[in-house]
């Protein structure tokens, strides 16, 4: 099912925030169509790693190549960002725009689509995330789960080759988590390459090809979700899982 062709190549990346070393030499390669889930205690560097992939965070050393494009010049960074969709823990919808405008804005000014085309794409995506009736609502009128689904639609509107999810369900009320995970599983089934920072074990088992445990700015262990959760090799993985599960 998975073509063994790396679309993200991370080589020995380090990143410090002043004294704090967030990443201490992380290497990871993600194949086209693969779904990778990253777990780990807070402060383990998993969000930082994700944010380095579309350069919201600048890394200090090492290299990251996305779809053959090295993240170096400003021009490359903008190209990569249009190829990589990102979904945030806090949704980050634009509160001054309607749902439809939220999804259409970047299509129009970055992808240069005309208004009608952008709105057609937006409505299609709203159908996909199962809230077509909310097109004219403002973000603050939506529940957290609905807002996160709009955020996913907004990222998908750019036709990204990769989707990054930074704890997409952590800010949600429990009853809204599943509706977001359902959309994510649907995306995974369609063959989207996804890197997900999340502790949703159910999602990991259902959709992820690989699970990674990070701690202290390093990748400690990686395996299939089943293997990692049921038969962890490392002590730190066992310790972390015992707290989470």
């Amino acid at each position: 099912m998975i073509k063994m062709e790396p679309i993200i190549q991370i080589n020995d990346v380090t990143k410090s925030f002043g004294e704090v070393e967030a990443l201490r030499g992380v290497s990871l390669s993600v194949n086209r169509g693969e779904v990778v889930i990253i777990i780990g205690p807070s402060g383990s560097g998993k969000s930082t790693l994700l944010r380095c992939i579309n350069r919201l965070e600048e890394y200090d050393e090492g290299s990251i190549v996305v779809d053959g494009i090295p993240l170096t010049s400003a021009e490359n960074i903008n190209t990569v960002r249009t190829e990589v969709g990102m979904v945030f823990q806090q949704f980050n919808l634009f509160p001054h725009l309607t749902v439809l405008e939220n999804i259409s804005l970047a299509q129009r000014i970055v992808r240069k689509r005309d208004k009608a085309e952008a709105e057609r794409v937006s409505r299609q995506l709203l159908k996909k995330v199962d809230i077509p009736e909310k097109a004219d609502a403002y973000p603050m009128q939506l529940s957290g789960g609905q807002q996160q689904r709009v955020a996913i639609a907004r990222a998908l509107a750019m036709n990204p080759k990769i989707m990054l999810f930074d704890e997409p369900t952590s800010a949600l009320d429990p009853e809204m988590i599943q509706e977001v995970l359902d959309v994510m599983e649907k995306l995974a089934d369609e063959g989207m390459t996804m890197v997900v920072v999340s502790h949703e074990m159910g999602f990991a088992r259902a959709a992820a090809d690989r699970a990674i445990l990070m701690d202290g700015g390093l990748i400690i262990e990686e395996a299939t979700p089943e293997k990692l959760f049921k038969h962890p090799k490392h002590e730190r993985t066992k310790l972390f899982l015992s707290k989470v599960l």
Binding site: N78, R81, V84, G85, H96, A106, I109, V110, A155
Partner: protein, 276 residues
């Protein structure tokens, strides 16, 4: 926030049942003050045309100059202030340094002194440069009073406006910029379409206050040969020697303008607020 509308409409529906409560609840009581002051001026003019109508007719071109100076300066302040504010937020040390020095210097010098500088010192400097470099156009440069006054007001108020813009932009969560950038927008596009439209709503109240301050401070331009309302008042005074009536009339005219502006500002604030 979802229920906010319904909880807000409920009490007003209740009020609707009390006779007379509904209409008065709709009219902003502050408009009453505006109309009271206007009525007072009209009464004075009608029952005591001498001297009040005479004063009004004498200074009416000054009213127009004051409005013109204020509005033109304010439009320029909004534009220059935006660049100042973005400069203050810039990570580029040189741009940031220039913007910071500009703001700190301007805020440390009285507006009156700045206006005197622009009107008297600046043209002299230009003339000096013209003589040294033999540029004929500069050698005989004389500052146009209104032009120099607008320059002075803009230069000063834009510094304060920079700080308002800076605070407004900083009040927008970082995630907004990150979301916009992660969609492939450039910094400028993200500012233009995402951050600034939200910041503008935040800064409406202080911007409105700045407009009213500017309207009042525009009276200082009367010392640099601009025939604004204050200067026209002084001219009337020196010809007629009725200080009480003259300055009361001038004060009332300023009061009408500031009260009216304050109402317009709060109306705009309501219009631009989020309909959540």
């Amino acid at each position: 926030m979802n229920n906010k509308n319904s909880t807000e409409t409920a009490p007003s529906r209740l009020l609707g049942k009390i006779p007379g409560a509904e209409p008065s609840a709709r009219i902003d009581p502050w408009w009453g003050l505006v109309f009271t002051v206007i009525a007072l001026v009209l009464l004075l003019i009608f029952f005591k045309p001498d001297p009040y109508l005479r004063i009004l007719l004498f200074v009416r071109d000054g009213i127009w100059v004051t409005i013109q100076t204020t509005v033109i300066s304010f439009v320029l302040v909004m534009v220059v202030g935006l660049f100042g504010g973005l400069g203050r937020l810039s990570k580029n040390k040189i741009i940031n340094g220039i913007a910071t020095i500009y703001v700190e210097v301007v805020r440390g010098v009285p507006l009156l002194v700045q206006l005197l500088f622009w009107y008297f010192a600046f043209p002299s400097l230009i003339q000096g440069v013209g003589k040294t470099l033999h540029i004929a156009a500069f050698e005989h440069y004389i500052g146009n009073p209104i032009g120099m006054a607008i320059l002075g007001l803009t230069f000063c108020y834009a510094a304060y406006m920079s700080e308002i813009y800076r605070a407004g932009i900083q009040s927008i969560p970082r995630g907004q910029m990150e979301a916009a950038r992660s969609l492939g927008m450039t910094y400028t596009q993200a500012m233009r379409y995402v951050v600034i439209p939200q910041a503008v709503r935040v800064i409406m109240p202080p911007v409105g206050n700045e407009f009213i301050s500017l309207l009042k401070d525009s009276s200082l331009v009367s010392v640099v040969a601009v025939a604004d309302l204050t200067r026209r008042g002084r001219e009337f005074m020196s010809a007629n020697f009725i200080p009480v009536q003259t300055w009361m009339m001038i004060a009332l005219l300023y009061l009408i303008m500031t009260l009216f502006s304050a109402r317009i500002v709060s109306w705009i604030e309501k219009k631009t607020g989020y309909e959540r």
